[in-house]
């Protein structure tokens, strides 16, 4: 039986380049992704990590860049740093960024989850991606994603 996955689609009035940059720009992620940033050189095979914006020693998620095709597709492995060698706790996230009739369709696919991880990411992605859309369209992210998540810091 295949493991659960989570898919979220949102349409944003912007360009694929702007979405691609927003995934990597710490000044943007700190506002729409719970005051964290994503660090890597973003080439296929490189390591990446999701760390606290103010304290780089607090790494929340770590993995490998499986595919990097700017500005259209980014595929990452995804795990808590202490569990990244446990295949059962390693998942995969794909960002597909496509032009769609003058807008951008962003599809986030999070695969190879277990039930606990599915619950967590099903709550997290809609908040992060709603705020990303708001940031790109209005210049200001939503308040709910500008602070660290409760219970995680």
């Amino acid at each position: 039986m295949s493991k659960p996955s989570f898919v979220y689609v949102t349409y944003i009035q912007t360009t694929p380049e702007a979405v691609w940059n927003a995934l990597r720009d710490p000044e943007m992620t700190k506002d729409y992704w719970g005051r964290h940033r994503n660090v890597s050189d973003w080439t296929t095979g490189s390591a990446w990590r999701h760390e606290d914006y103010d304290d780089a020693s607090l790494v929340r998620i770590a993995g490998t860049v499986l595919e990097s095709n700017p500005p259209h597709r980014l595929v990452l492995t995804w795990a808590s740093p202490e569990k990244k060698d446990d295949p059962a706790k390693r998942s995969r996230v794909t960002f597909d960024i496509e032009p769609f009739m003058g807008e951008v369709r962003l599809t986030v696919t999070h695969e190879d989850l277990d039930d606990e991880m599915l619950r967590g990411v099903s709550a997290g992605w809609p908040a992060i991606l709603s705020s990303l859309k708001t940031l790109l369209e209005t210049g200001k992210a939503m308040p709910m994603t500008q602070k660290r998540w409760p219970g995680k810091s």
């Binding site: 689609v9 009739m101 003058g102 809609p126 709603s130 705020s131 209005t138 709910m144």
Partner: protein
């Protein structure tokens, strides 16, 4: 083992109030602004007819199941398109929650569309449609302008190819 019935759930957060989101979902002229020229039509009393129309043409019909402004709205959903009208009605539920504390000024909107038969074509169709409609609703309420897809010549060719199948 229980068979898993098709069920679509979508959560979006909107910088707005539950009253404004509820009004947008139930007012004909506001719905037309974000629903790509479609509009809702109903008196919103439980048991009353619901319709999603384009001009005078009914695209989807249904019955109001629940209307509790500004927190819950539910209706049945039956496409009138030739290719889908043989399916029995499914069910849509909108749940609106005003967030509190430092996140006030934001609404959590959860749309649940379920009660489909297995292999429902309508399920495939709405799974593609709701993210577009709800993205447009969010843009309209936050920026004043809904999504306005512009059709390229390639898009028009794709649509023509589907229509002539």
């Amino acid at each position: 083992m229980t068979a898993r019935k098709p069920k679509f759930v979508y959560v979006t957060y909107i910088a707005s109030t539950v009253d404004k989101v509820f009004e947008a979902l139930t007012d004909a002229s506001i719905s037309r602004q974000f629903w790509f020229g479609f509009h809702v039509e109903s008196d919103w009393k439980p048991g009353s007819p619901f319709a999603l129309k384009r001009g005078d043409t009914t695209m989807d019909s249904g019955v109001v199941l629940l209307c509790e402004p500004p927190h819950r709205l539910s209706y049945t959903w039956h496409p009138e398109y030739e290719s889908m009208r043989h399916e029995r009605p499914s069910r849509v539920l909108f749940e609106l929650e005003q967030l509190k504390g430092h996140v006030k000024g934001q609404v959590k909107l959860t749309v649940t569309h379920d009660d489909f038969d297995d292999d429902s074509k309508v399920f495939e169709s709405i799974s593609g449609g709701w993210p577009l409609v709800l993205s447009s609703l969010k843009s309209m309420l936050e920026t004043g302008s809904a999504l306005e897809p512009t059709f390229s010549e390639e898009d028009i060719r794709k649509i023509e190819a589907i229509c002539t199948q």
